[in-house]
Amino acid sequence: MRRLADLSVTILTAVCASACIGLLIVIIGTIAWRGASAVSWNFLTEQMRLAGASGGIFYNILGTLILLGTALTVSAPIAFGAALAHGVYLKSPRSRERLMMGLHVMNGVPSILFGLFGLMVFVLFLGWGKSWLTGGLMLGMMMLPTVAVSLSERIQTLPHSTIEAATALGLNQSQIVWSVILPQSFGGWMSGSLLGMARAAGETAPIMFTATIFAGATIPPGIRESPVLSLPYHIFILAQDSFDPAVGAKLWGAALVLLLLVFFFSLAALPLRLKLQNAAHDG
């Protein structure tokens, strides 16, 4: 009887785990199967024509990369600041805890609200209209908690002996920050940023009001008032009237490209994360 219970638990949980993996395989399989025929060199390098029914998605990919680059640039200094404040400058455990809490709260803010905030402040109040800069700012603030937490975890696992040795050489706090803490926590920033970008790449809600349009944008000519095309918004719009079979194949192709982009970021972060995890275990 006990043996039977044991066996059934094993089988049941194994079924759950296989269901997870099965879902992954089915989803990737479906998208790859339907989208593969559309993806070609021309698809990646040509611009969109006939409202998505023809041509490629070059400027959509470009727009997404511009947004991601901006988000990376925006999040980096703030994440470094917050991680250093948490790991070095804030002395009282209470304020450190509050800072972490703030980051967790920010991480839990629904992405549509970042979009609404950007719409209110930049698009309407400052009158920028749809602008890639606003989209990048919002995506940057959205990925900030991921980057900052990953970075400060890394800073916390830095061996105390390294900092002690640098202090014993007569280096002051700033010198230690620049020559010991920042170089050695770079991996934490990299992996956090890659994970953050993996999430930001697929986000539609923060950019649909603020940064991206469906057609008619190429390389942004200006800083503030130029919208871009983007992959997720492209898919979002086409998905809503996807009855034209010609659009259908292109749509799945775009989804496949987006999926590959996201997987690229999360898999690129993987070796770093494993290395840091091992280092944390050994140290």
Partner: protein, 274 residues
């Protein structure tokens, strides 16, 4: 120079080893170190003369490392530690108002039990501290690197691979690299916290030989649990031991007198057992 009589120090008495004008470099008086509610060091008073190897021996847990870290104020990094009493370097109170601990640490270098090299090239490790203290021109940099590495007797082993990662060196070489790094900053005191306990016999020899050269210009405070090492290299020895959970100073005497001192025999037996 060295007087050969036993100078016993009892906590209540004034430290009286050297007169005020006899090159007394570091004067520790009534030093207490508390960590939270626990007392780690209780009422330690010591006088340390210039240009000698000053040994500190004692069982583990007697607060030897804590004493060293109190001298160069490394304990400041751990807010739980609290230091009372005075430590004077050439008459200036190390814990006095307005003292910049970073400037203090430029005058008092330190070598740790485990070598701590930074994940950078050998060359970068040597000038790791120095390049922050003054601006170096390129040719100056090379000269400083060579001088420090020669001072640590490492130059011949690494001169052809200065740009290789320092982590590829053996542990013994790493420890000498740490010494070179400290020498590059050019401190007048070097604190050594059991610097050879992680090393093999050959590297230990190398470091011990260096001590004899280094003490010509500098003062070295060497913590060791190895009594024969203390006998070999030190000029003066202080012994810390544990009483009621806190570290106390048992004896401070010149080397020869120290090893014939009765009071220390018990401690020696204990140390040699372990």
């Amino acid at each position: 120079m060295m007087d050969k009589q036993i100078t016993s120090l009892h906590p209540s008495e004034e430290p009286g080893c050297c007169g005020r004008n006899e090159g007394c470099l570091l004067e520790i008086a009534g030093l207490f170190v508390h960590a939270g509610k626990r007392t780690i060091l209780g009422n330690v008073s010591l006088s340390i003369k210039e240009r000698q190897v000053f040994g500190i021996v004692g069982p583990s847990g007697a607060g030897k490392s804590t004493l060293l870290r109190a001298i160069n104020r490394l304990l400041d990094l751990q807010p739980a530690f609290h230091v009372e009493g005075s430590i004077r370097l050439r008459g200036e109170d190390v814990y006095g108002a307005g003292v910049d601990p970073d400037d203090l640490r430029r005058r008092i270098g330190m070598l740790f039990q485990q070598p701590v090299v930074f994940p950078a090239s050998i060359e970068a490790n040597v000038i790791f501290g120095l390049r922050h203290h003054r601006r170096l021109r390129r040719e100056e940099k090379a000269a400083e690197v060579e001088s420090a590495l020669r001072g640590a007797a490492l130059w011949n082993e690494v001169k052809d691979r200065l740009r290789e990662p320092a982590l590829r060196l053996s542990v013994g070489q790493q420890q000498r690299l740490c010494l070179a790094r400290t020498l590059a900053v050019n401190p007048e005191i070097i604190l050594m916290d059991e610097p050879t306990s992680a090393l093999d016999a050959r590297s230990t020899d190398a470091i011990e030989n260096l001590l004899h050269v280094l003490k010509r210009d500098r003062t070295i405070i060497l913590v060791t649990h190895n009594l024969s090492q203390a006998r070999r290299v030190t000029d003066w020895v202080a012994c810390l031991c544990t009483e009621q959970g806190e570290g106390r100073l048992l004896e401070s005497a010149c080397c020869d007198a120290f090893f014939s001192s009765e009071a220390c025999q018990k401690v020696f037996e204990k140390l040699e057992d372990s």
